[in-house]
């Protein structure tokens, strides 16, 4: 059974979605209202989540007698010392610790994950089946593409000085490297685009659900009025 709160949430969600969808048609008051309210809500939500996390992971533990947790508390307070000019040097220590710990944790397995296993995956028999794509009859072709692609891109980054580019053989391999890189970026962009189709589609599914049609119609009318008024003002 749909509760009153769920109804209100749906109305607010539709209102905000329609407001955002009016932006590509032109800047208007309705969109501005949505933008500012969203920023306010997002900031409020972030503070709430941060306070909950601190309660669970820091204050809760200090309260249960784990005095060692005073150290992260002091380090956290030191982060804010940048707001006091005389004590701003203090914030370097927690930042150094954060960066140090983060880097050390990544470094622990980075050689294995990002280097050794990548090299092992590239050093393949081009005619072996079941390596690059399991059970795919095009596997040998894929393997050859991987090998040529790696060599060409490596050439592109290693032979970058003008003196090397004058050599037609190196220049050709570099061009192939650019082609491989651009193909990779293109596929990534295409994926992001399809992701956005999915995102926008989800909002349209929600707004055009039979129970939400009336609300959507109301906010669409509001958006149209807001756009009309904004354009009239411009003229």
């Amino acid at each position: 059974m749909v509760t009153l709160i769920e109804n209100i949430v749906s109305i607010v969600a539709i209102g905000f979605t329609v407001g955002c969808l009016t932006l590509p048609l032109g800047d208007n008051v309705y969109w501005k209202l949505c933008e500012h309210m969203f920023l306010g809500f997002a900031a409020g939500y972030t503070i709430l989540i941060a306070s909950q996390t601190l309660q669970a992971n820091l204050f809760g533990k200090i309260g249960s007698g784990e005095i060692l947790f005073f150290i992260p508390l002091i380090l956290s307070i030191m982060l804010y010392s940048r707001f006091v000019k005389q004590a701003s040097w203090l914030n370097r220590y927690p930042i150094a610790l954060l960066v140090g710990v983060g880097t050390a944790i990544s470094m622990r397995t980075i050689v294995d994950a990002m280097l050794l296993k990548q090299i092992r995956s590239t050093l393949i028999n081009p005619f072996a089946t079941g390596k690059a794509i399991v059970g795919n009859p095009a596997t040998p072709i894929n393997n050859i593409v991987v090998i040529i692609g790696v060599i060409a891109v490596t050439f592109y980054f290693v032979f970058w000085e003008m003196k090397w580019m004058k050599n037609p053989a190196i220049a050709s391999v570099r061009s192939l490297g650019i082609l491989v890189l651009m193909s990779g970026f293109g596929i990534y962009v295409a994926n992001s685009l399809v992701m956005r189709v999915s995102r926008l589609g989800g909002r349209f599914f929600f707004m055009l659900a039979p129970e939400n049609l009336l609300t959507t119609g109301f906010f669409a009318l509001l958006g149209a009025i807001s756009l009309y008024l904004s354009r009239k003002k411009e003229v």
Partner: protein, 279 residues
């Protein structure tokens, strides 16, 4: 008269494109249709990966995305949970993004048909948001109880039946990470696959950047380009949210294709005619 018409079109090009875009999205919702779903290699290998798990698997489903990406992940996650429950498995949820708790609230509403027949704390649990990015992942995988003491609902972890014998990464049969960026995904490769050798699957638009890890380091790499979640639902024999969006995915992608072609062809035609006039 013609020049007025031309200037009007030039002035309102963006508006016209956006209105047509919206129409392309509205049409498949008002007049649903479903293009044939062809099973791709990625969806098939992910399905096989879940099938290869032992009976009653314990699976960790992590996520790092906001409300805007929910429509994409919703279909996949629902199908994935159905798949795991078919094998009498358990799903442990945890968020490494701050929007995680909000996403869990949305899941509670949309996954109600799946979770209504299941018990919280026995068949599924949400352990809440863990900050720190990759450092948080590393800490969680090394020792869950040292990282968090209570779940999202405030229950001590030791009181949850699902968490019995689950202390670290190696206690999971599979780890699946859903995210919209690529940074945490790389962190998972380092902190889960490489550090513990646990089976790992990454889901999200970062798929092409994770391709070098597949299948050597990650056993599943599902990304949206071929409508992989809909393919997964088809393999599962349970059409759901993702399948219902496939028509929209088709018209939406078609629109962008038309725009890209027009954007490349029309300026060339314009240049050609300008040159012709000059000559």
């Amino acid at each position: 008269m013609v020049s007025n018409k031309e200037s009007y079109l030039k002035k309102h090009t963006t508006t016209i494109i956006i209105v047509v875009l919206y129409l392309f999205y509205v049409y498949p919702i008002l007049f649903p249709f479903s293009p044939p779903i062809v099973i791709g290699e990625k969806a098939q290998s992910f399905y096989d990966l879940v099938e290869s798990l032992p009976d009653e698997p314990t699976v960790l489903l992590t996520y790092d995305y906001g409300a805007v990406s929910y429509p994409y992940f919703q279909g996949f996650q629902e199908a994935f949970m159905k798949h795991i429950y078919r094998k009498d498995g358990n799903v442990i949820l945890v968020a490494f993004g701050a929007a995680g708790p909000m996403m869990y609230k949305m899941m509670q509403k949309t996954f109600a048909p799946v979770w209504d027949q299941k018990t919280y704390g026995e068949d599924y649990v949400f352990l809440g948001f863990i900050p720190g990015g990759e450092t948080g992942v590393a800490s969680f995988m090394a020792d869950i109880r040292q990282t968090i003491m209570i779940d999202f609902e405030g229950n001590p972890i030791d009181t949850l039946q699902i968490m019995e014998n689950v202390n670290m990464a190696t206690d999971f049969d599979l780890v699946v990470n859903c995210e919209t960026s690529t940074t945490i995904g790389d962190g998972f490769v380092r902190q889960v696959a490489s550090a513990y050798g646990v089976k790992l699957a990454l889901v999200g638009p970062g798929g092409p950047t994770w391709e070098p890890y597949y299948p050597e380091q990650i056993q599943g790499n599902l990304y949206p380009l071929p409508g992989a979640p809909a393919e997964y639902e088809k393999l599962l024999g349970a059409p759901g949210n993702a399948s219902s969006q496939i028509g929209l995915l088709f018209t939406g992608s078609l629109f962008y294709l038309v725009i890209i072609i027009c954007g490349n062809v029309i300026p060339r035609i314009g240049k050609g005619s300008e040159n012709g006039n000059t000559d």
